[in-house]
């Protein structure tokens, strides 16, 4: 009784505390309901499919389902010597079924990923298996081709037994599991993916550096000029920013070609001979130049927005306290711009590391990045699980950088224009 009298009641006779909590909860639900449509949409069409990529990248059920009896029989096999008749018989029975369903081609593609040389021997086996007699399948299969009598090929099949595999990730780093189950690198001349990863990092890094070196002075100029001039100059930054990526790439293709203006200019000033014009496109130079120009606005804008908040009197104070302009700049101005530098560099780096269109058009063979490889596997080899694995490796890297960005600058500080 005494506690009730102390409670403040609303007009409905409900304690105020309860009523407030209820209102708070109602507001929470209201706010959440507003966000819910977009959140659901993004989760269903975007976040879950990225999860789907993860599943695809480790999924190896295809072969498991194609050779169920073989893998059952292989459970007892130690994998050292050639398997017993039982395994061969099971393989034969699985294989006949696949041939009936016309799926042996898929099997050969899949097994070929694990070990080269399966394609031809499976084709041969299909032809010969029609005239096989019952029983003693080991002899008959081994007679088809000498590779069928090689234990390495049977070990390769056994390696495809698990329904899930990290194989694609290893392949993305030019590694594989060898016959004895150790993870080793492929031979040096075949390490194409490592070269690509390193090149992607290298190009992204240098593009970021170039962008920073170019953006810093002009962001400073834009931030210190009087408004009417800086607005005009800002157009030079914003117009490329709003212009189609393909248009900008096209203009670089025109400029950098062998008969293009840049080469004309070099010939004109006598830097290169007319008959010895350097190739500036379809190589790394092309990627560097075009990507730097295209990503430059992304560096200028964060730098500019930070520099605008720095009062010019700080530099004056530094100088009046005896610092030379250089010292004043280095000790006072530069440290204040570090948040902008961080934001700009990480933004450009993240964008550069996943670049696809520009390298594909001006990069040639030596200027393409990991994204181009992903697209290649999506569209040409149709090895979607490998494309997914590489995509996720790239994504992990980007998310790590993004995490750093968030720690350093904060996600809310992303500014657009």
């Amino acid at each position: 009784m005494s506690s009730e009298t102390k409670q403040i009641l609303t007009t409905d006779g409900i304690p105020l505390e309860v009523s407030l909590k209820k209102a708070e909860r109602r507001n929470k639900i209201k706010a959440f309901l507003l966000v819910a449509p977009l959140l659901l949409f993004i989760i269903i069409t975007y976040v879950l499919p990225i999860g789907d990529m993860l599943m695809r990248s480790v999924d190896d059920k295809m072969v498991t389902q194609m050779l169920p009896k073989t893998f059952k029989a292989m459970e007892k096999w130690d994998g050292k010597e050639l398997p017993e008749e039982e395994v061969f018989a099971a393989f034969h029975s699985d294989f006949i079924k696949l041939v009936e369903e016309k799926r042996e081609g898929k099997l050969s593609t899949q097994l070929n990923y694990t070990k080269n040389g399966f394609k031809s021997i499976i084709k041969k086996l299909r032809r010969k298996s029609k005239s096989f007699e019952d029983g003693n399948y080991k002899e008959q299969i081994m007679a088809v081709h000498k590779r069928w009598a090689n234990v390495e090929y049977w070990q390769a099949i056994k390696r495809r037994a698990p329904a899930y595999t990290g194989q694609k990730y290893l392949k993305g780093m030019d590694m594989f599991k060898n016959e004895s189950g150790e993870i080793v690198s492929v031979s040096e001349d075949r390490r194409i993916h490592r070269v690509l990863w390193l090149r992607t990092l290298e190009i992204a890094f240098f593009v970021t550096v170039f962008c920073f070196l170019m953006a810093y002075p002009i962001a400073h100029l834009l931030a210190t000029l009087p408004m009417k001039y800086s607005n005009l100059l800002m157009i030079c930054v914003l117009l490329p920013f709003w212009t189609s990526l393909l248009v900008r790439t096209a203009s670089w293709m025109i400029l950098l070609q062998q008969q293009g203006l840049v080469n004309d200019f070099f010939v004109g000033i006598g830097l290169v001979a007319d008959d010895n014009r350097p190739e500036m496109m379809f190589n790394k130079t092309g990627s560097y130049v075009a990507m730097t120009q295209i990503l430059l606005p992304f560096m200028v804008l964060p730098l500019y927005s930070v520099m605008k908040t720095i009062s010019p009197s700080l530099m004056r104070a530094g100088k009046s306290l005896g610092g030379t302009p250089f010292v004043a700049f280095w000790k006072v101005y530069f440290p204040l711009t570090i948040p902008g530098i961080g934001a700009g560099c990480l933004l450009v780096f993240i964008l550069a590391i996943g670049y696809y269109i520009t390298p594909a058009l001006v990069g040639g063979a030596s200027g393409t990045l990991i994204s181009n490889q992903i697209a290649f596997h999506m569209k040409s080899t149709l090895d979607w699980s490998f494309a997914s694995a590489m995509g996720l490796m790239l994504l992990t890297g980007v998310l790590a950088i993004y995490w750093v960005y968030n720690k350093l600058v904060g996600i809310d500080n992303i500014k657009l224009g």
Partner: protein
């Protein structure tokens, strides 16, 4: 940026070096765009400045590539332009509606798990496009929406909403919520309050977010490359194919039109930004 009179000579020199560097960088940024204009009027078929063009001979210039763009036989630009506009307009409408409504919720101080949800919502902007392309392709293929306009529109809504969410939440951060309470206290229902009070005030943010979404969709090629069939070709796809295969001056005519379009968008976006800053009381 006039230097004070007392500046010492070597700082003066340094200052001029600095200005020269700036001029060079501005030139590097803007000059490539201006190569496109004259070459799109080239009378010849090559993508280099002919001798006639260098000597400004009027015969060296023509509109033939513009004619080819519009009337050319078997030319894909008509269909591509139509598709691009249809896709971009619907994607923009979708992004603006979903994004604005979500931004309203996110700006409420009652919103739970704000940081996490914000991170999910703007993730399509951070994740490299090639990965988004692969993921969205897998979804659309499963949903049977690959090679349909609807599929591409949905994909572009995914890519466009982060921009709307960011610009509208930024606009709402300077929004005085007492005006909506005032409206409510005067008997207005929430929908009416939004339409009559909130929306007009945040409109610059909404429109500039919409512009970002429009440009994103209009210029998007990576995801469309995965999704589009022959019927869904867009301007960027045609440009991409053209740049890879037959680099023709017609592409430059199209590019010139695109630069004009982007100039218009830039002007609109700038005007809106200034208006928005004025409304939010940010003095320049």
């Amino acid at each position: 940026m006039a230097l004070p009179k007392y500046t010492e000579p070597h700082y003066r020199i340094w200052h001029y070096i600095y200005l020269t560097i700036c001029a060079a960088v501005f030139f590097f940024l803007i000059a490539p765009l201006f190569v496109i204009f004259p070459l799109s009027f080239n009378a010849e078929e090559f993508l280099v400045f002919s001798d006639g063009m260098k000597s400004l001979d009027p015969d060296a210039f023509s509109l033939r590539w513009y004619k080819d763009m519009i009337y050319g036989t078997k030319n894909p630009w008509g269909l591509a332009t139509k598709n691009s506009f249809i896709i971009a307009i619907f994607a923009t409408i979708g992004s603006v509606i979903l994004g604005t409504v979500a931004a309203l919720g996110l700006s409420s101080r009652h919103m739970p798990y704000k940081g996490l949800i914000m991170a999910v919502l703007i993730s399509p902007m951070i994740v490299p496009l090639i990965i988004s392309g692969v993921a969205i392709f897998f979804f659309m293929a499963k949903a049977g929406l690959a090679a349909t306009h609807l599929g591409i529109i949905l994909a572009h809504i995914i890519l466009g909403t982060p921009f709307v969410v960011i610009t509208v939440t930024a606009t709402l951060s300077g929004f005085d919520h007492s005006v909506t309470r005032a409206a409510a206290s005067l008997g207005s229902n929430p929908v009416n309050t939004f339409m009559k009070i909130t929306l007009p005030l945040i409109l610059p943010g909404v429109i500039s977010g919409g512009l970002f979404a429009f440009v994103t969709s209009f210029d998007e090629v990576v995801v469309v490359l995965f999704l589009a069939g022959l019927e869904n070709t867009t301007i960027p796809i045609q440009m991409w194919t053209g740049l890879r295969e037959q680099l023709s001056p017609t592409i430059l005519a199209v590019a010139t039109c695109l630069i004009i379009l982007s100039t218009l968008i830039l002007v609109t976006a700038e005007l809106l930004r200034r208006r928005s800053e004025r409304l939010r009381g940010i003095n320049q």
